[in-house]
C-alpha cells in the first residue's frame, strides 16, 4: 500500500459533508496558505513539488502558474477542467462525486496562489448530478466563511462557481473549454495568445485538471519537497488511474508513480489480473488518444526493462515502442478483443468529436473512420493499411489543437503493432466478419 494523498479519506462515510471533511483535516491548507504564506510562496511550493498536470499533457503545474500574466487592474481566473471526456477516463468524476470538498479546498488554495477572485469549475454537462454535489458542498463552504468575502479573516475574497458543458469532447481542450465557458461553440482558439495572457473573458487564466488542483492542499500542508520525495525521478507524487476493460477489478486507483505495470495489472491491490484468467493482448495506458501497446511492450520496454507507471517509462521508446501516461486511463484488452474493431471505434469517436475547423482533422478523421469501417466489415483493400498510415501522418502536427494528433496516434500505433491483424481482416473477409471472430496470429480463427 503506497501513500494516499488524494484518496486517503475517500470512503469515509459522510466525507462529502463539510463537518466530516474538516474532522479529517479538511481545509487546513486554506488556513495555512491564506494566513501564513504569500501567494508566491504557494507557487514556489508547487514548483518544488514537481507536480505535473494530470489532465494528459503532464506540463509542470508550478511552471504554468508562474507564466500567468499579472497586468494591473485586470482580473485573473482559475478554471478547473472537469470535462473528463477522454475515453477510458473516469477518475475525476469518481473523485468529485465522493469527495467534493477536496476539490473545493484545492480551488481556494490555488486561486489564492494565482490571485484569482472568481474561479470556475467547468464540468461536462452529462455530470449534472456531480454538479449538484459540488454546488451543495460550495454552499456549505460559503456558509462556513471558506468562500466569499474575507475568507477566514484573511482579507482574501473568492467566488467559486460550477459551469456545465453540453456534451462535446473537444471542450476538454483548454481553449475550447474557455470558448464554451463564454457561452459559445467549443472551437479551439489559435495560440498565441495563450490563456496565461488572454484566457477567459480575455483575461489571464490558468486551466488545470481536477486532480492537479486537488493535489495542491497536500503540497501546501506538507511542503513541495515532501511531495517530490514520492514517486520516481521527474514523475513525482501519486496519480489516479482509471482502470477499465477486461480486468477483474475495474475502478479508480491512486498509485505512487513508479508502480511496475505488471504489478498494476496482476496484483489484487489493483486490477486483479485479466478477467476469466485470459491472456493479456494489449493495453492503452493513458486514454484513447495515446498509442496502444501489445502485451510484450507494455510489460517491458524494447530494451527489456520493466515498464513502470511513470511519464518517462511509459513513453520509453517514443512512438516506435512506447506510449504515454496521458490522463491515466488504463484500458486493458484480453485475447478475445479485435484490434481492428477497436481502432475503428476510436476513429469513429474522433471523427464525431472533431470540431471541423481544420481540414486535416475534419477530413482526415472521416477518412480513417471510413477506411477502418470497410476493413472491419470485410471490404478492405490491401492498400488501405498504407492509406491509413498516410492519412494519420497528414493530420499529425497540422492542426490548431491536439485533437488531430489524438485521432492519428491510436490508428498509427494499431497498424504499427498489429499489422498482421489488419492484413488478416483484408485477406480473409469472410472469416473475419463471423460473429466473435478474432485474429490470434498465424491465421487461426476462433468463433464464439
Amino acid at each position: 500500500m503506497g501513500i494516499k494523498i488524494l484518496t486517503e479519506h475517500i470512503n469515509v462515510p459522510g466525507i462529502e459533508t463539510l463537518e466530516v471533511y474538516r474532522k479529517h483535516g479538511g481545509y487546513r491548507s486554506v488556513e495555512k496558505a491564506l494566513k501564513t504564506m504569500t501567494p508566491d510562496e504557494v507557487v514556489e511550493e508547487v514548483k518544488t513539488s514537481g507536480l505535473r498536470g494530470r489532465g494528459g499533457a503532464g506540463f509542470p503545474t508550478g511552471m504554468k502558474w508562474s507564466f500567468l500574466a499579472k497586468p494591473e487592474g485586470v482580473p485573473r481566473y482559475l478554471v478547473c477542467n472537469a470535462d473528463e471526456s477522454e475515453p477510458g477516463t473516469f477518475k475525476d468524476r469518481v473523485f468529485m462525486q465522493k469527495n467534493p470538498h477536496a476539490l473545493i479546498e484545492g480551488m481556494i488554495t490555488s486561486s489564492y496562489a494565482l490571485g484569482a477572485n472568481t474561479s470556475y469549475i467547468y464540468i461536462r454537462g452529462e455530470l449534472m448530478f456531480v454538479l449538484r454535489i459540488l454546488e451543495k458542498a460550495i454552499a456549505e463552504a460559503y456558509a462556513a466563511g471558506l468562500l466569499g468575502k474575507n475568507i477566514m479573516g484573511s482579507g482574501y475574497d473568492l467566488d467559486l462557481h460550477v459551469a456545465p458543458g453540453g456534451g462535446a469532447y473537444i471542450c476538454g481542450e483548454e481553449t475550447a473549454l474557455l470558448e464554451s465557458l463564454e457561452g459559445k461553440r467549443g472551437n479551439p482558439r489559435n495560440k498565441p495568445p495563450f490563456p496565461a495572457v488572454k484566457g477567459l473573458f480575455a483575461s489571464p487564466t490558468v486551466v488545470n485538471n481536477v486532480e492537479s488542483i486537488a493535489s495542491v492542499p497536500w503540497i501546501v500542508n506538507n511542503g513541495g519537497a515532501e511531495y517530490a520525495k514520492i514517486g520516481v525521478g521527474r514523475s513525482t507524487g501519486t496519480k489516479l488511474i482509471s482502470a477499465s476493460g477486461n480486468i477483474n477489478n475495474p475502478g479508480v486507483y491512486e498509485i505512487e508513480l513508479g508502480v511496475p505495470v505488471e504489478e498494476f495489472i496482476y496484483s489484487d491491490e489493483y486490477c486483479g489480473g485479466i478477467l476469466k484468467g485470459k491472456q493479456l493482448k494489449a493495453v492503452v495506458p493513458g486514454g484513447s488518444s495515446v498509442p496502444i501497446l501489445p502485451a510484450n511492450l507494455i510489460l517491458k520496454t524494447a530494451a527489456g526493462e520493466d515498464r513502470l507507471m511513470t511519464y518517462e517509462s511509459l513513453s520509453d521508446g517514443g512512438f516506435v515502442s512506447g506510449s504515454m501516461l496521458g490522463s491515466g486511463a488504463f484500458i486493458v484488452f484480453d485475447e478475445d478483443q479485435c484490434i481492428v474493431r477497436n481502432t475503428w471505434n476510436y476513429a469513429r469517436f474522433y471523427h464525431h468529436e472533431s470540431c471541423g475547423q481544420c481540414s486535416p482533422c475534419r477530413e482526415g478523421t472521416g477518412w480513417m473512420e471510413k477506411v477502418l469501417h470497410r476493413i472491419e466489415h470485410g471490404h478492405g483493400h490491401q492498400q488501405d493499411i498504407d492509406l491509413l498510415v498516410s492519412v494519420a501522418k497528414q493530420i499529425e502536427g497540422n492542426t490548431i489543437c491536439p485533437l488531430g494528433d489524438a485521432a492519428a496516434w491510436p490508428v498509427a500505433s494499431a497498424v504499427r503493432h498489429f499489422r498482421d491483424e489488419f492484413e488478416w481482416h483484408i485477406k480473409h473477409p469472410q472469416e473475419a466478419t463471423l460473429p466473435g471472430a478474432v485474429y490470434r496470429g498465424q491465421l487461426e480463427t476462433i468463433t464464439a
Binding site: 473528463e84 471526456s85 472568481t118 459551469a163 456545465p164 453540453g166 457561452g183 469517436f349
Partner: protein, 177 residues
C-alpha cells in the same frame, strides 16, 4: 399553414435557476450562462429544445436567436427534435465495448423494436447512442437524465432496468432540492 405558438413560460423554480446561473458571470457576460439555461429548458419542456424555446432563451439573455441555435447545434446533449419520455443515452465508446456495450445496444434495439435515434411508438423511449460518459469501469452503461445505470451486462438486468424506467415519472432536478 398558420401555427399557434404557445407562449414559452418557465416555472418559477426554473426561472430562479436561470437567474442564479446568470449571476455567476461578470456584467455583460450573461451569454456565458447559455449552456446551463439550455439544460434547464430541456428539463422543463419535454426533453428537447424547440425553436420557440430557443427564441425565449435568446430573449432572456438579450442575444440574437441565431446565437442560441449556433450553440444548440454544436453540443450533443441538446435534442432539436421531440424525444420520448425517457431518452436512453447509451455509451458506445471503446472501453464500454470491451465489456459488452455492442451487445447491450443490440438487445435494447430488439426489445424496444427501434433503431438508433428512434422513439418507440408509445413515446416511452428514445435510443440515443452517445460517447464515453466517464463510467468506463462500470460499463456497459447508459444515462437517463441525471442518473447513470451501470453494469447492464445481462438480459435480466436490462429488463429490470427498462421495467423500472417505465414506472418512473419525470421530474425537473432542481425541484427535488
Amino acid at each position: 399553414m398558420a401555427e399557434i405558438i404557445n407562449e414559452v413560460k418557465f416555472s418559477d423554480a426554473g426561472m430562479a435557476e436561470i437567474q442564479r446561473y446568470i449571476s455567476h458571470y461578470p456584467e455583460g457576460r450573461q451569454k456565458s450562462a447559455i449552456l446551463p439555461i439550455m439544460h434547464v429548458a430541456q428539463a422543463e419542456f419535454g426533453g428537447w429544445l424547440s425553436p420557440q424555446v430557443m427564441d425565449k432563451i435568446a430573449e432572456i439573455l438579450n442575444i440574437q436567436p441565431i446565437e442560441v441555435y449556433e450553440v444548440a447545434t454544436f453540443y450533443t446533449m441538446f435534442n432539436l427534435k421531440p424525444v420520448g419520455k425517457h431518452v436512453l443515452e447509451v455509451c458506445r465508446t471503446g472501453p464500454c465495448c470491451l465489456r459488452g456495450a455492442d451487445q447491450m445496444i443490440d438487445m435494447i434495439k430488439q426489445k424496444l423494436n427501434i433503431e438508433e435515434g428512434e422513439t418507440t411508438a408509445d413515446g416511452m423511449f428514445t435510443l440515443k447512442p452517445v460517447e464515453c460518459l466517464a463510467s468506463c469501469g462500470t460499463g456497459p452503461m447508459l444515462q437517463v437524465r441525471e442518473t447513470y445505470y451501470e453494469n447492464l451486462d445481462t438480459e435480466e438486468k436490462l429488463d429490470q432496468f427498462l421495467e423500472t424506467l417505465r414506472n418512473t415519472e419525470v421530474e425537473t432536478p432542481y425541484h427535488q432540492k
